[in-house]
């Protein structure tokens, strides 16, 4: 064996790559190819035929642009909300929490020990019309006596924000934690105020974390359907809800497959735009 590797040293990188490539090939590329094949079929279940049915795509955009746009708007708002909430929190953990850092990180990650669905179901109880939160908000007149939180856009976006929060918090924490405190001291020595030091040193150095966090939040949030299904009404339906309904309820596989590609394609385009704006080197950290 050793001799083999010695003689064929050039093969080593390929052998190391092989498991990952195989994995992606079998579980990503093959299904993706199948999905692509399906997205160009026509006919009714179970007799679909491959007919290069590109109209699936145009019809998909035409019929569901509302849900598609809504998905990106919700995902966008949730991503910004995650960033606003996560940055100060992990900043504090990274620079001020001292020995308690790991504990606080654990607290951020702790909800992930419970499945996604159960976490979202918990919100059904927390935000229930007769629950304590709504009652309090009614008492202090933030909500009308008949107002509610569940089954509103607010509930859906909040649910997404909550569910994807750690994906934002952890990458930012990692980039903040790596900042050499001597750089901040140097900034102060050079007469910069704390604000200037933050803007000129901390923020740029944590940018890779912000970029990674926004991507990890935005991409899955755009395809999410659980929050809209459980916390929303038909008026909050996202593209994920349409896709799952087409796959499982109306058995319109080509329609569902083409919408999946439209979603993927749109995300990819947005990603490329984002990469151009922030600079691609930051995408890779």
């Amino acid at each position: 064996m050793g001799g083999f590797f010695h003689r064929h040293r050039g093969l080593t990188p390929y052998l190391l790559l092989a498991p990952g490539v195989l994995w992606l090939g079998i579980f990503f590329l093959v299904p993706l190819g199948f999905l692509g094949y399906e997205s160009l079929q026509s006919g009714l279940f179970p007799d679909f035929q491959f007919t290069w049915e590109f109209s699936n795509f145009s019809n998909g955009v035409q019929d569901y642009h509302e849900q598609l746009i809504r998905s990106f708007v919700y995902a966008g708002i949730a991503t910004v909300a995650c960033l606003m909430l996560a940055y100060p929190l992990v900043y504090w953990i990274a620079f001020r929490a001292g020995p308690w850092r790991n504990l606080f990180l654990l607290i951020i990650v702790a909800p992930f020990f419970v499945t996604y669905l159960v976490r979202t179901l918990a919100w059904l109880n927390i935000l229930a019309d007769q629950g304590p939160v709504v009652r309090l908000l009614r008492d202090v007149h933030i909500l009308a006596p008949d107002g509610r939180l569940l089954a509103t856009t607010f509930a859906v976006v909040s649910g997404i924000t909550y569910n994807f929060f750690p994906f934002m918090a952890l990458p930012i924490y990692v980039s903040l934690e790596q900042i050499d405190p001597r750089l901040l001291e140097a900034a102060k020595d050079l007469y910069s105020s704390s604000t200037q030091a933050f803007l000129r040193v901390t923020l740029p150095l944590s940018a890779p974390g912000i970029v990674a966090g926004t991507l990890l939040t935005f991409i899955p949030a755009a395809g999410d359907f659980i929050n809209a299904a459980l916390l929303g009404t038909p008026n909050q339906a996202m593209i994920g809800n349409v896709i799952q309904a087409k796959f499982l309820e109306s058995l319109d596989y080509p329609g569902a497959a083409s919408l999946s590609f439209i979603l993927m394609g749109t995300i990819l385009v947005l990603l490329l735009v984002y990469a151009r704006v922030v600079g691609s080197e930051r995408l890779t950290g």
Binding site: V30, P31, F34, L35, E38, L44, F45, P46, Q67, L117, L121, L124, A128, D129, Q130, R148, L150, A151, F225, I226, A229, L230, G232, T233, P234, N235, Q236, A237, N241, V242, I243, Q244, A245, K246, F247, L248, E249, S250, L251, D252, Y253, A256, S260
Partner: protein, 378 residues
């Protein structure tokens, strides 16, 4: 307790995996467990049974235990049917290749699309009626369903009624769909089902249309009515049976609800009520089928067992749903007089006369399906 028939949540959870499943049907079906194929004609010592959640008696000795004691056949009882279309999506790949799905019996509801697909595509096997002498206990009303006119492939498991439930603390009685859809006091405190047959069935009856004979006009009229109630904010959500908890805790004032669910909820909360709408309700039935690859003799032995009225009574009382087995009530009175006198479990002639069935052709109409999803925002 609250999710005896279908939970949207379960559907979603599995739905999340759905996209992957479709691309790898064989792999997924293989994960379904159990053994299948190759033994269709032999009696086996294990029965693999797929059913809805909380849809069988649980009080010991359970009927499943009694079956094993009597026949020596062990039952692997899977509560893995969470929605008819979803179960169908899961198994259709293997069935279409003529392969088994690791089950000897599964159930499918008559007012949903798949039931016709199973029979028409030849994906289910004929019953061996010589092994089901209790077949004669099947009530007359269930002997000739449109999807299986001679009951060659199926036997009813349990039935339920579509009606309206309301909470007396939050509203006066809601006995019509129009009140449910337009009473301003109910705004945002109403849900309807995400299954087309159930919801539109009740709406069609309200419109004076026949749900058993759907036309494009009557369908559009029904959709329009639902759309109005969605646009006005009256309808809060489309649900599986996840209406049960919000109904019980007061988030909903009234909703479309299944009889058996509410029968169970009323036991804990007497403020809840359920009734067949004034213009009529819908009755649906879950049917047992033997999929390709399932053992016909084993499945038929079990079907014969549950068509013994004494056993059927335990199942009906244990689930609060309606049995199609003749003579059940006499045994139910002995088991649990309160249940035996509950019209939700043993509907009397007056209620039965108000019930209608869905038009089976409605479910496979792609235009209808599209419109039905659209009204749900999908």
């Amino acid at each position: 307790m609250t999710n005896s028939r279908m939970t949207r949540v379960e559907l979603l959870r599995r739905g999340a995996a759905g996209a992957t499943m479709l691309s790898l049907p064989a792999l997924v079906a293989a994960c379904g467990g159990g053994g299948g194929g190759g033994s269709e004609g032999e009696l086996k010592d294990v029965l693999n049974f797929s059913n809805w959640e909380l849809y069988i008696d649980t009080k010991k000795p359970t009927t499943l235990q009694q079956f094993t004691n009597k026949t020596g056949i062990k039952v692997n009882y899977y509560e893995d049917v969470n929605s008819n279309p979803e179960y169908f999506a899961k198994v259709q790949g293997r069935l279409s290749r003529g392969e088994g799905i690791g089950r000897d019996i599964f159930v499918s509801t008559d007012n949903d699309r798949p039931v016709g697909e199973y029979v028409d595509n030849g994906w289910v096997q004929k019953l061996d009626k010589s092994l089901i002498p209790n077949f004669s206990n099947l009530i007359a009303a269930q002997q000739h369903p449109p999807f299986d006119p001679n009951r060659d492939y199926s036997l009813p498991w349990l039935s339920g009624m579509d009606g309206i439930a309301w909470n007396e603390d939050l509203t006066d009685p809601v006995t019509t769909v129009d009140k449910l859809f337009t009473d301003p006091k109910l705004k945002g405190k109403v849900t309807v089902w995400n299954s087309m047959g159930d919801t539109l069935g009740l709406v069609m009856l309200e419109n004076g249309d026949d749900p058993a004979k759907v036309t494009d006009e009557s369908f559009d009229r029904a959709i329009e009515k639902v759309q109005k109630a969605v646009d006005s904010g009256q309808i809060r959500r489309f649900t599986g049976n996840d209406y049960a908890q919000p109904l019980a805790n007061g988030d909903l004032a009234a909703c479309m609800a299944w009889s058996g669910d509410v029968a169970q909820l009323i036991a804990d909360n007497p403020k809840l009520h359920w009734n067949v709408p004034e213009q009529g309700g819908i009755i649906w039935t879950d049917n047992m089928f033997i999929p390709l690859g399932g053992s016909v003799p084993t499945a038929c032995t079990y079907m014969n067992f549950v068509y013994d009225p004494q056993i059927a009574a335990r199942i009906a009382v244990g689930t609060s749903y309606i049995s199609s087995v003749d003579g059940v009530k006499a045994f139910a009175v002995k088991l649990d007089p309160a249940s035996a006198n509950n019209p939700l479990i043993f509907p009397d002639a007056t209620i039965l006369s108000q019930l209608h069935q869905n038009d089976p052709t409605m479910f496979s109409n792609p235009e209808y399906n599209k419109k039905w999803l659209a009204v749900q925002g999908q």
